[in-house]
């Protein structure tokens, strides 16, 4: 569905279903240079199981009007503005990678809007290497190759996709290639510059869940500890052997974790 957020067109995948005011809502927020399709399976499940599901395209990504937002804080505020535009009071926020930081900021800045918070493949600080940042700044394809290889476990790079017939790293590369010039750099820089993680995590008052991959080299599980310890009562599910692309590598495990958490 299309929404008007602060005068700009914003897109949210709802699995083709209209929002209903009496249903709980789950908002899914993708990572750098991604779009709503990163959460396709999980959001579709919730949309057909009693929820309003909104898998967002962040500004400048996918079908949402640009420009992309330069800070994680702006992304957090934008998510709240999406809820306003959709007339949704509260929602469970589910974010992956950069999207997890955006969801965290939304929950910290707008605590009344967050019913629950799920952080997938997250870390703080979310460090970005100079080589990657520079390649993205120059819009070189090497930037996509780096995150495509580092963003999947070794096993996922061989294959065995749960989605029949889909070559995971091939599809991910094409998704990255669809991002508009400079969007990837803007996203990566926002991640690198994000300094409010511990302070924002301490403000989170809703239930929180971390879903991490034991083989994630982009956001290694050890780098999630600061956030984990800052959010009171947060739970963690570690997916053994999974890399950073958790929703693609382990779609059912991520879904089961979210079902158990949100229901």
């Amino acid at each position: 569905m299309e929404l008007n957020v602060s005068g700009k067109k914003a897109y949210a995948y709802t699995a083709g279903r209209a929002l209903e005011s009496n249903r709980p809502t789950v908002v899914f927020v993708h990572g750098a240079a991604n779009d709503h399709s990163a959460f396709l399976l999980q959001s579709r499940y919730f949309a057909y199981h009693g929820y309003n599901a909104l898998a967002l395209d962040l500004p400048g990504h996918g079908r949402s009007e640009g420009p992309s937002l330069g800070t994680v804080g702006e992304m957090g505020d934008w998510i709240a503005a999406v809820l306003d535009a959709a007339s949704i009071e509260r929602a469970a926020l589910v974010g992956h990678s950069m999207g997890s930081l955006a969801a965290l900021e939304c929950a910290a800045r707008h605590p009344a809007r967050a019913r629950a918070l799920a952080l997938i493949g997250t870390a703080w600080p979310m460090s970005v290497g100079d080589a990657l940042l520079e390649a993205a700044r120059e819009d070189r394809h090497a930037a996509f190759d780096m995150v495509n290889v580092w963003g999947h476990s070794g096993a996922a790079q061989v294959g065995g996709n749960t989605v029949p017939g889909m070559w995971m790293t091939g599809a991910y590369l094409r998704l990255l290639e669809r991002s508009k010039p400079q969007v990837f750099h803007t996203d990566l820089k926002a991640c690198k510059d994000y300094s409010d993680g511990p302070a924002s995590a301490a403000k989170v008052s809703c239930p929180a869940l971390f879903i991490l991959g034991s083989r994630d080299v982009m956001t290694p599980p050890r780098n999630a500890k600061t956030l984990q310890s800052a959010i009171a009562g947060a739970r963690t599910i570690m997916l053994d052997g999974a890399g950073h692309s958790l929703m693609a590598e382990r779609p059912d495990a991520v879904l089961e974790a979210l079902i158990a958490f949100l229901e």
């Binding site: 083709g16 399709s37 294959g159 080299v217 059912d252």
Partner: protein, 431 residues
């Protein structure tokens, strides 16, 4: 952090798409010879049907053995995914039926496999899809044949039978300027010799019966999507960009940013047309692909030796192999096919149809049959077999002379092949 490295072609040929069997640790891909899959519970069943979870429901739509093959060819081609079909023809039909309906139009190369030509020229018009055929070498003709209702440009990477080298970058540019995709039949080249997506093609299919298998024991097709074509931006493909009543009003490009085509092809095309691949066939094709790099290198090496021999024979009028400077696409071939121009080619024999018949019947190592891409060397004389209904004028229009012989060079000792051809050439010239 070290520099990122993708797995390379030879490694992907052996491994892509398969994890060792989690239950027993089987290293080879198991043949999941099953029609259906037990659901864990009612909710899982419903969510699988509604695409809320990924997995297998019924083997016409997907199968674990087929899925390994689909991933493997997608990996080798640099695509986003693939669909295994009952044959190359089924894969081609699946592509067309997914993209268009009655009232649509295709621009296709003249130089096509006879089965593809039949589908486009005679069968699809009955369903309201017309095709304009153009010379594969004439870019202006490709451009000029595009109409408002054109939905696809189509050619073979190496055309049948004259081995026209398709200018994939040139034709792709024309297609994209018209907001249309380019589909190529990559059977003769395989991803070892050419990766059409790297050159601009959007979709491709293989008759996996041929070089991908190599053993000549199964019929199969593979349809691969590059994931690059922007169906929304084109605005010409309502099957992918508008709600589909046949699946809960699904809008496929909304559902999948990079694999809308494959999603519709599987969810509608395999479901409704049903031209799926047997899992046992998929297993056999996987065995072939494991050695694809080794075989293709040897195919090309043997072919070069045979071509060199034939080029010195008085009984041979002409050889249509793009590595020869005499071939009209020699320069293009050097650019697009640096690893070689495959192992299927035609040559003209002096003496017309009678000489062709004598030549064929004198061969001992070459098998006389209607196939190509086998590990064994093959031969056919089009004027007396596949194109026997045509008179000499019609044959000429198709690029076939009365003395044209088509060879598919296999993996035998090249000296045996040369000696076999030498004997048959001598026999062919005896009155």
């Amino acid at each position: 952090m070290s520099q990122p490295k993708y797995l390379r072609f030879d490694t992907l040929s052996l491994h892509a798409g398969q994890q060792p069997d989690p239950q027993f640790g089987a290293r080879a891909t198991p043949i999941y010879q099953t029609t259906s899959y037990v659901f864990k519970d009612a909710d899982q069943a419903a969510s699988l049907f509604n695409m809320e979870r990924a997995g297998h429901v019924y083997s016409r739509i997907s199968n674990p053995t087929n899925a390994v093959l689909e991933e493997r060819i997608a990996a080798l081609e640099g695509g986003v995914g693939a669909i295994a079909a009952a044959s190359g023809q089924a894969a081609m039909h699946l592509a067309i039926a997914t993209l268009m309906g009655a009232g649509s139009h295709i621009v296709a190369s003249h130089s096509l496999y006879g089965g593809s030509h039949n589908l486009l020229a005679y069968t699809l018009p009955r369903f309201g899809v017309e095709t304009t055929f153009v010379s594969s070498r004439d870019l202006d003709a490709w451009r000029g044949a595009i109409r408002p209702n054109t939905r696809l440009l189509f050619g073979e990477t190496l055309g049948n039978p004259g081995l026209d080298v398709l200018d994939v970058p040139g034709v792709a540019q024309i297609a994209h300027a018209a907001k249309l995709p380019l589909l190529v039949d990559a059977t003769f080249t395989t991803p070892y010799l050419m990766r059409p997506f790297d050159l601009g093609a959007d979709l491709l299919f293989h008759s996996a019966t041929k070089f991908l298998s190599g053993h000549g024991i199964v019929i199969g097709g593979l349809l691969v999507d590059s994931g690059r074509f922007d169906w929304d931006a084109s605005g010409k493909f309502p099957t992918l960009t508008e709600p589909y009543a046949g699946f809960h009003g699904m809008d496929f490009t909304e559902e999948s940013t990079v694999a809308a085509f494959l999603l519709r092809a599987r969810r509608e095309g395999l479901r409704d047309f049903g031209a799926c691949m047997s899992p046992t066939t998929a297993f056999y094709i996987l065995q072939g692909i494991e050695t694809l790099p080794l075989r293709m290198a040897r195919h090309v090496e043997n072919t070069r030796k045979v071509v060199e021999f034939l080029s010195q024979q008085a009984a041979v009028e002409a050889i249509g192999y793009p590595e020869l400077p005499s071939h009209p696409d020699h320069v293009l071939a050097r650019k697009l096919l640096p690893r070689g121009c495959g192992a299927v080619f035609s040559f003209s024999l002096k003496g017309g149809r009678p000489a062709g018949r004598r030549f064929i019947e004198s061969l001992r190592v070459f098998s006389h049959l209607a196939n190509v891409g086998d590990a064994k060397s093959l031969v056919i004389h089009p004027a007396t077999t596949t194109h026997f209904r045509m008179d000499d004028a019609a044959l000429a229009a198709a690029g076939i002379g009365p003395g044209t012989v088509r060879l598919s060079i296999g993996l035998e000792d090249p000296d045996d092949l040369v000696e076999d051809l030498d004997r048959a050439l001598r026999a062919s010239q005896k009155a």
